[in-house]
Amino acid sequence: MSHADEHGTDPGSRAIRDAVGARSHPRLDATFRARLKQDFMSGRLGPLRVPAPRVPWRPALWLPVAAGLVVVAGLFANRGPDWRVVSAHGEGRVRVGAASFAPEEREKLAAALRRGGELGIEGAVTLDLVAPGAMAVTLGPGTQLALPASPGRWWSRAVRARVRAGDAYFTTGRAFHGARLSVSTPEVDVLAVGTAFAVLRHEDGSCVCVMEGRVSVAKRSGGEAVDVPEGMRRVVSVSGEAETLPILEDSRHRLHQQRSSAGRTLDR
């Protein structure tokens, strides 16, 4: 075929094509030629002489795979501790999502809420949970809570719980340092950075009781957030009225109880 007219017509291109086209035909060495012919005719050809090609290293292929593995390993290593059941006692059932467990089925219950979930306490059950080193939560009878996964080790350190009803007591551990826990009810948003407090949600409103440290409580209906110091509680009614009062002895007692049962696991 004539390709001279297809690819470049300048003298330089033509000279190159002429030079390529004018090359002579290499001749096979007569001895080799005759020997190979004999071998080919007789089928006495030896093994292949050309070595098998090495599989080339393809960074373009492996880099995304390696990067993916690093990301997966990072995500796995960043995971905070799973929730464990410290104790579950009383009469009734604990609902996790669509599943329901008796208080005695602690292993099944723990497996169901390792990474958190929608929890509901039906009947007179008290449930103590702990994410070792990070956080402890105690749920009283009738509590409905969206339990978050515990905070990540290096990132995703902000976690959010939601108390729809009932009493939830929170205590943070040493591994919680630097993380943020926010708890919301229909009336208030609570922000805590390492402390022990309770969020009690009842028909007439929400109460945030602080046993240790300081939490910030903001009404969901608007207005400035109020810092609630240790030993005080902030009560916000359904109608939006709010006041700060001394903590009730019962709440203090419950939070003390939680600390004593989960304190070692929390490494406080």
Binding site: M1, H3, E6, H7, G8, G12, S13, A15, I16, R17, A19, V20, G21, A22, R23, S24, H25, P26, R27, L28, D29, F32, R33, L36, K37, D39, F40, M41, S42, G43, L45, G46, L48, R49, V50, P51, A52, P53, R54, P56
Partner: protein
Amino acid sequence: MPESDSTSQSPAWSVAGVKRPEGPGDARPERALLERVRARDPEALGEFYEQYVELVFGLAWRMLGERVLAEDVTSDVFLKVHRAADRLDPSRDPAPWLVTITTNACRDLWRSGAWRMRRRAADVDDPATAAVLSTGRDDPEQDVLASERERLVQAALLELPEPLRTSIVLHDYQGLDHRQVAEVLHIAHDAARKRYSRALTALEQKLRGRL
């Protein structure tokens, strides 16, 4: 079609370096001969060899630029032909298949560590190269000039990346058109044309002012 590295054969192929039987009509080897090659009849194998050995060796030599390596590839190609003879399709021209397996064998060699080691030691000024290249002219001065020209072209060709070098060798030396090159390299027709253009440009840059 024998071997996995084969390609569809076109009866219209005309490949440089193939010693065709004399006489009018279809230049392809007789069907009867290929039938006997399939049966590994020694005489037919010898005839087949005579027809195609220069094609295979010439192509390998142009690809590799070194006689010993080209001989190794030639041996390998005929070993593969012998092993796959019973799968040869007598209704098709075996030339495209031979071009394909020779090209693949050269590419295997390039991708092997052995090629890089050989290239470090080999020199295109090797006297063996001059011996292989025979111009067939009686004019010593012209022979020297032609030989020098050949040396420059071959050296520049060997400096090209493998796909570009293959494109030039198959198109300019082996005389395949872009469609045939595309078949051998398993690429699209347009890609073969573009690759050849890039190869020619690269070769020009290497040879500019030297020819």
